[in-house]
């Protein structure tokens, strides 16, 4: 009988030997149950992180802007995200008269689901290990062998929600916002993918977990792939529509852009989607360039800290970077944004890709590494 484990392990990384069976569980029912429990835990953790990320953003930005930020709801405003959620759930859900109803209703869902689904392949620990409690809580929901393609695909799908929202709202500002967004996301998608190609060539695998293991065995890819990292970081910010690339929702120009007509929890879904995809990009950056769950040095004080904590620390750093950039930089204009991606980032990413490929080929033929 074909175990589900076979399914997810086709084409393992060529340079990392599978030192143990990924999931010894062969009974499909128990396997499904285990996946469900893992899913439940990881999704809740992701949503809680997202909620407190909004709190952290407000706090960090407030300190940078000589303010206090939320400090009334609970100690240090810690209950603020909960209060916000309750407020959003209690708001009236208004559908404008001119709206295209089915599309209007579907847009926030289309935006939210891909953002959350991206977390399915993020490894919080070594996904080849058994996990906690004898496999009942696994470090990743799915140890997918095309994990990186899956993530890129989902981040492309996310833009449909925005386009649908802008098209269906029957509002000119929303329309402009979604038009900007479609152009922006499609362009930055390209550099986002290209910037990761160097890493993939180096690692020789599309599996996120194996990429981390490769880095554990050699060095973090930030060092050989520095230009790739810079391009990835900029494209990632643009991909998630954050400052200074927040043109689709540019407050001072388009009022609120694509989600202008949304209220209540349907707006809340857009809001959640934005923050979760921010998290996903930050986690991806940590995995691809900063060694994911692996400690920086495999020696005593570092490897006492478990993998999930390392990943959390690393992607928190990127989130902090997001907040920092948001509170410092003004916004690009649309033509400058496109100029940046096509005239600067695209050539850099392409050159980086070619150089990496050549070095790798030469290296293999010279016998520097296999």
């Amino acid at each position: 009988m074909l175990s589900p484990a076979h399914f997810f392990e086709i084409g393992a990384a060529p340079t990392v030997a599978p030192d143990q069976a990924v999931n010894p569980q062969t009974d499909p029912f128990i396997w499904f149950l285990q996946t469900f429990i893992t899913l439940f835990i990881i999704m809740n953790v992701v949503l809680i992180i997202m909620a407190y990320q909004t709190w952290a953003e407000r706090k960090v930005m407030a300190r940078m802007q000589l303010r206090y930020g939320p400090n009334q709801t609970g100690p240090a405003g810690l209950l603020q995200p909960i209060a916000d959620a309750v407020k959003m759930l209690g708001k009236e859900y208004i559908i404008p008269r001119d709206a295209d109803r089915p599309v209007f209703l579907m847009a926030p869902i289309m935006s939210f689901i891909p953002a959350v689904a991206a977390f399915a392949v993020i490894p919080w620990g070594d996904a080849r290990s058994e996990g906690l409690l004898g496999g009942w809580i696994r470090p990743a929901i799915a140890n997918l062998n095309v994990g990186i393609l899956y993530m890129l695909a989902l981040s492309s799908v996310g833009v449909y929600g925005i386009i649908m929202a802008g098209y269906s709202s029957g509002n000119k500002y929303s329309m402009l916002g979604s038009l900007r967004s479609s152009g922006q996301v499609v362009s930055y998608e390209l550099t986002l993918g290209l910037s990761l190609m160097g890493v993939l060539i180096q690692a020789g695998t599309l599996n996120l977990n194996d990429i981390v293991r490769q880095q554990q065995a050699s060095i973090w890819y930030i060092f050989p792939q520095f230009f790739g990292f810079v391009v990835f970081l900029i494209s990632g910010i643009a991909e998630t529509n954050r400052n200074p690339f927040d043109l689709p929702e540019a407050e001072s120009e388009l009022v609120a852009g694509f989600h202008l007509e949304y209220s209540g929890m349907s707006f809340g879904l857009f809001y959640l989607a934005e923050y979760i995809s921010m998290n996903a990009i930050a986690a991806l950056a940590a995995i691809m360039f900063f060694g994911g769950w692996a400690p920086p040095f495999d020696i005593a004080p570092f490897n006492w800290i478990p993998g999930p904590i390392w990943l959390f620390i690393k992607f928190s750093f990127f989130l902090f970077l997001y907040y920092w950039i948001r509170s410092t930089l003004p916004r690009f204009r649309y033509d400058q944004l496109m100029g940046l991606v096509w005239k600067i980032l695209f050539p850099i990413a392409l050159a980086n890709l070619v150089i990496t490929a050549v070095v790798k080929l030469v290296g293999i033929s010279m016998g520097w590494w296999v």
Binding site: M61, M64, Q65, L66, R67, K172, Y173, L176, L179, R180, N243, P244, D246, A250, E251, S252, E253, L254, V255, S327, T328, L329, P330, R331, F332, R333, Y334, D335, Q336
Partner: protein, 404 residues
Amino acid sequence: MSQTPTNEHTETHRQSSERRMRLNMGPQHPSTHGVLQIVLDLEGEVVMRCDPVPGYLHRGTEKLAEERYYNQIIPLTDRLDYVSAFNNNVAFVMPVEKLLGIEIPERAMWIRVILMELQRIASHLIWYGTSLMDLGAVTAFLYAMRERELILDIFEMACGARLTYSYCRVGGLLSDVPPGFEEKVAEFVKAFPKAWKEYTDLVSKNPIFMDRTMGVGVVTPEDAIDMGLTGPSLRGSGVDWDIRKNEPYYGYDLLDFAIPLGTKGDCYDRYLCRMEEMLQSNRIVEQALKFLKPGPVKVDDPKIALPPKELSMSQAEAMQRHFYQVIHGFNVPVGETYGKIEGSKGELGFYIISDGSSHPYRMKIRAPSFVNLQSLPLMTEGRMVSDVITCIGTIDIVLGEVDR
């Protein structure tokens, strides 16, 4: 000879008007600085036609003024350009004093100069914050508020109000400034250049900011003069015209300050001009403090100035004068005059016609924001929506003044 439109012409016209989208930006919009409506005809994101529609904040100040005694008009002027209320006060009382033919005491004059220049800094700080917020840099706004707060504290100390001061009176000031005022101003003057440097470090050389503003909203010197632009909007285009220098009033000729000029007339030049003006205003305040000597702050004319409180509470004569002035005001000789100052947005002038009674027969306000606003279509047509926002920011309009 009129040209009959050919089929081809109408066809192109029809197509182009079909491609166009009319966008009503405002009156409820976060970055039209109040309730300005701008009707934009867009092709994609390119602005083909830009038509500012003021009038949503019209309160009939000029008509209201015809029914009020001169000193009662001062609170109305506060509400024109509400971020630089003190300049409006001074601009209004100047022509009235001219009609009455009175000279205000030296001390009142220098306090007015100090407060006007502080007000200019406060107004430019608001402009700095809001125009950068329009560009998406929110932090600048909160930084600017920090220094503005100190200026508002100074005003609060002088007259008790923080936004609408009504501190001027025809013939001087409401009252003298309290002790400790000079020290507080001196403290601000000393601290301000350091804060100013923080602002410029944060923004002036930021590549995104430079991309957004350089070459955007260019106004040539000729256009600027033709449109009657004044203030930093005019000087950003490189025209050397500042009423404080060219037609000095209130002892500005005794002070040493420079007039910053732009070269290209784009948004970046206007930005630099305003930033430099803040420093120059700071210098003016520093020098004006040295001229501040003890003395009266109201003209010694019982018909115009209210008697001191102690006198009106103890002497019958003074009390009668107080009573008469409060219920009747004072008569201003027949005549008409125009008084102008270099306000924080440009030339702020009041044209007053008096028929000899205690209220003006007609009062016309020459509001710089209103005049400067007409350069918006020139700056933005053929450019992108984002540039409209940038340009509104650097024109620095206040809707209270545009609509009056």
